[in-house]
């Protein structure tokens, strides 16, 4: 074989390699996690490519938030492999964090600050330019109809208003991958539509979105791909249409069935009986 041939092969291999790493934005191999003696994740295998909107759903305590926390580099003591944007979650957490956005559940923010102060603070943590943050924050707040409250302390904010501020704070640095934990909780109907549309357009512009949710009909409508986990394992993975092909019900029923919670009607009946005792 010609020496140039090897070179060419290795070049092509390199290309494919870099192609693979850049297209699979999230990669989990046999991800396991223990909290003390509880086995929370029992081997998650997952590949997500760029531009996908992935809905990650499962019953309470299934390991959704844990998976998200591992992916954003907050929980380095897991077994298995996890890479985001081709970087190892364990060793390159800081580099990953610079390029991802995370919106936590339960509206955790410093509510004695005003939205502008809070966003300024978050921007500084990403080492963004102050004037730039200010302009951008104001624009984004205005678009989410919080312009009037931009300089009011958030202690008095409703859950929906906080959620909007959190959403902005997670997207402020224009991340490539966005992790959302229950992004729609507390939002009013109009805001839900708006945020759904924002998620769609973010994906269209090439960003990857990975979110967990309980609101099934929303998951149905905006996800390119739905992953259902229960008791630390993936039990279903595919587009809504694919999942539907297996069983032609609504996602809600499907979810109940797959997570071993069918027979809700029966439980409800028993509930009523117990009430009447």
């Amino acid at each position: 074989m010609l020496p140039g041939g090897t070179f060419l092969v290795s070049f092509v291999l390199n290309l494919t390699e870099s192609y693979v790493t850049s297209s699979s934005v999230i990669e989990l191999k046999d991800l396991q996690k223990h909290y003390g003696s509880t086995h929370v994740l029992k081997g998650i295998d997952l590949t997500v490519s760029a531009g996908q909107v992935v809905g990650y759903i499962g019953p309470n305590g299934a390991g959704k938030s844990t998976t998200l926390k591992i992916l954003i580099g907050m929980l380095p003591d897991f077994t298995g492999e996890a890479t985001v944007l081709g970087m190892d979650v364990r060793t390159q957490a800081l580099d990953i964090k610079r390029r991802i956005g995370y919106v936590p559940e339960n509206a955790a923010l410093y509510d004695t600050l005003t939205p502008m102060e809070y966003l300024q603070f978050v921007g500084q943590l990403y080492e963004l330019d102050n004037a730039h943050i200010e302009r951008k924050s104001l624009d984004l707040l205005r678009l989410l109809q919080l312009a009037d409250h931009a300089n009011a302390r958030m202690t008095t904010f409703s859950k929906g208003m906080r959620q909007k501020v959190l959403l902005i704070s997670g997207l402020l640095h224009n991340p490539d991958v966005i992790f959302l934990d229950e992004p729609l909780s507390g939002l009013d109907a109009n805001a839900v539509v708006l945020v759904k549309e924002i998620i769609r357009q973010l994906a269209n512009s090439g960003k990857t979105i990975f979110y967990s949710s309980h609101i099934m009909d929303v998951v149905e409508k905006i996800s390119d791909r739905i992953i259902i986990i229960a008791q630390g394992r993936i039990i279903a993975d595919g587009t809504f249409a694919e999942l539907q092909q297996q069983r032609p019900e609504s996602l809600e029923q499907l979810f109940a069935e797959l997570t071993g919670n069918d027979g809700q009607t029966m439980v409800a009946e028993e509930f009523i009986q117990a009430l009447n005792l």
Partner: protein, 556 residues
């Protein structure tokens, strides 16, 4: 104080960069934390109390008190004519600084140190463990430095005046180093604790530790002046013993002595060496070894809290609160509603950390105060009057608890009083008060009475019984006279504490009751005859309290 701190930080940014922190992020975190402290009614800063608006006037007031007490301690240094005898006063001064710092760190900043709210907000951002750790240390240290400065400012002036500017500056530096050393020791203390006990337990342990500390410090303030009276100990030039090298305040004192005596010998050089070396070694050690695990420990705090909460919830769901509470409540209450309120109050007062922190130290103070006053054996303690006075302490301190009974962090849960069909809220109030009397007042009173009987003789038994009923009357009067709230229904900060007014009224009642009691002791059989009268009066007042209607209750 945000601006001056940031100004100082800006001057020092090279140092922070050198130890591997990102200065921009560090500054942002410290700035935000200080801003929030100024706005929040700082629950975590406990005694610094509540404040509104953009100021920290309570903290300033606390600093003022520290300055004043520090000044009193420093006066000891003025009276020593001779620079040979400065070692003990200096040691005292540094002990003061260090114990203030330690007390602040353990009681007021424990929630700041163990704060896990950063997890959700800062950890997902690209902030390194070291930067976050440094930011938190600086946040805490800025308060400690303010405390150390205020505690030693008078001392600095006195030393500077008597022994020259150099000595003053050295004294100042040593005070700040003392603060640094305490940060290190407290951090080690927490990390060691965290190694051995889970988070939930840790909070519990710290809670009790705070209660003990509060009592110890109160006792210490009472005892210290008496110790200082032992003139010989202070006036004699101290011979240095080997164990002095293990007492940090003595290092600092020894170091300052070098300049004021002046003296240079191996002993003093060793003191100087220790006082310079240990704080920096501590900082280096923390930066080198403790930061790496810092964020991880923080995350674990969050994680552990959940499963353990779950595990505990399961057994306690079905009456794990001992069955005897149920039985006791059946015994002392008359209606189901009252019973519910009794059991509810009984359980919450045993579990709510904030309630415990606010009431138990008070009870401890009360006991410590009575014991110390009676041992002191001076005018007040030995008079036939004092034991009467002491007996009423229980009532006073339980009044504080009665006041706390309306407050809770979970005040939102009080909607249940509104939605449940409660016609007579008085039943809830009376059940709640009964729990307080049986759980707090009675045991405390028995303890107190036991001590009084032991010290002043068993012939005081009628007095003890009368004082018990009178304490009950005082308690019920306080409950009747103050705004009535449903148990645990008002936000901690929401209530305007008109403590001064309350204190005056309580003092007046105490005076009247106490003097009438004293008057009765002068009449033969007076006390014994008064017992039933007092008991009936309590019963009447309690019935009155139980008839409280909705219109008399203020909801939070």
């Amino acid at each position: 104080m945000t601006t001056p701190i940031l100004y100082i930080l800006d001057r020092l940014q090279g140092v922070f960069r050198a130890v591997g922190a990102d200065y921009g992020q560090l500054r942002a975190i410290v700035e935000v934390k200080l801003t929030m402290d100024n706005r929040r009614s700082i629950v975590s800063l406990g005694r610094y109390g509540k404040q509104s608006g953009e100021n920290n006037s309570n903290f300033t007031r606390i600093l003022g008190i520290y300055t004043f007490v520090g000044g009193l301690i420093s006066l000891g240094m003025l009276t020593r004519s001779d620079s040979d005898r400065m070692f003990f006063p200096l040691t005292l001064q540094f002990s003061y600084v260090m114990s203030l710092c330690a007390m602040t760190l353990i009681s007021d900043f424990s929630s700041v140190i163990l704060d896990s709210s950063d997890n959700q907000i800062i950890l997902p951002r690209p902030v390194s463990s070291r930067t976050l750790w440094l930011a938190r240390i600086i946040h805490i240290a800025s308060y400690l430095f303010a405390i150390a400065l205020s505690a030693s400012v008078v001392g600095v002036l006195i030393i500077g005046y008597r022994f020259g500017a150099l000595a003053g500056i050295l004294f100042l530096i040593m005070s700040l180093l003392a603060a640094v050393l305490m940060v290190f020791l407290t951090n080690v203390f927490y990390l060691v604790l965290m190694r051995f006990i889970s988070e939930e337990k840790l909070r519990e342990v710290i809670n009790y530790f705070q209660i003990v500390m509060a009592v110890v410090f109160y006792g210490g303030y009472q005892l210290l002046p008496r110790l200082m009276d032992t003139e010989t100990m202070i006036t004699e030039a101290l011979e240095h013993q080997w164990w002095h090298f293990f007492v940090p305040p003595m290092w600092m004192a020894g170091a300052v002595e070098i300049v004021i005596k002046p003296v240079i010998d191996p002993t003093h050089l060793l003191f100087l060496g220790l006082s310079l070396f240990m704080p920096f070694a501590g900082l280096w050690f923390m930066n080198r070894f403790l930061t790496a695990n810092f964020t991880q420990t923080l995350i674990n705090i969050d994680q552990e809290a959940r499963p353990s909460a779950l595990a505990q919830a399961v057994p306690s769901a079905r009456g794990s609160g001992p069955a005897w509470v149920e039985r006791l409540s059946n015994l002392v209450t008359t209606s189901p509603l009252e019973r519910a309120a009794f059991a509810f109050t009984w359980r919450i007062t045993g579990r709510d950390r904030k309630f415990k922190l606010k009431t138990y130290p008070q009870l401890g103070f009360g006991l410590a105060y009575v014991v110390i006053m009676s041992i002191q054996g001076q005018s007040l303690g030995s008079s036939g009057f004092f034991y009467l006075f002491a007996l009423y302490f229980a009532g006073i301190y339980v009044m504080v608890a009665q006041y706390q009974l309306g407050l809770s962090d979970n005040y939102r849960a009080a909607w249940v009083y509104g939605s449940a069909p409660i016609r007579e809220p008085g039943d809830v109030l009376s059940g709640s008060l009964k729990a307080l009397i049986i759980k707090l007042l009675t045991p405390f009173y028995i303890l107190l009475a036991g001590y009084i009987l032991f010290r002043y003789g068993t012939d005081k038994t009628p007095d003890v019984i009368l004082a018990f009923f009178n304490s009950l009357i005082m308690l019920i009067s306080a409950a009747l006279l103050s705004t009535r709230h449903m148990p645990f229904s008002v936000e901690q900060d929401a209530v305007k504490q008109n403590n001064t007014a309350r204190g005056l009224v309580v003092g007046l009642v105490l005076g009247v009751v106490g003097f009438s009691h004293y008057g009765l002791t002068l009449i033969p059989y007076g006390v014994i005859c008064a017992v039933p009268v007092s008991a009936v009066m309590f019963w009447v007042l309690f019935r009155q309290y139980r008839r409280t209607s909705w219109t008399q209750i203020e909801m939070g």
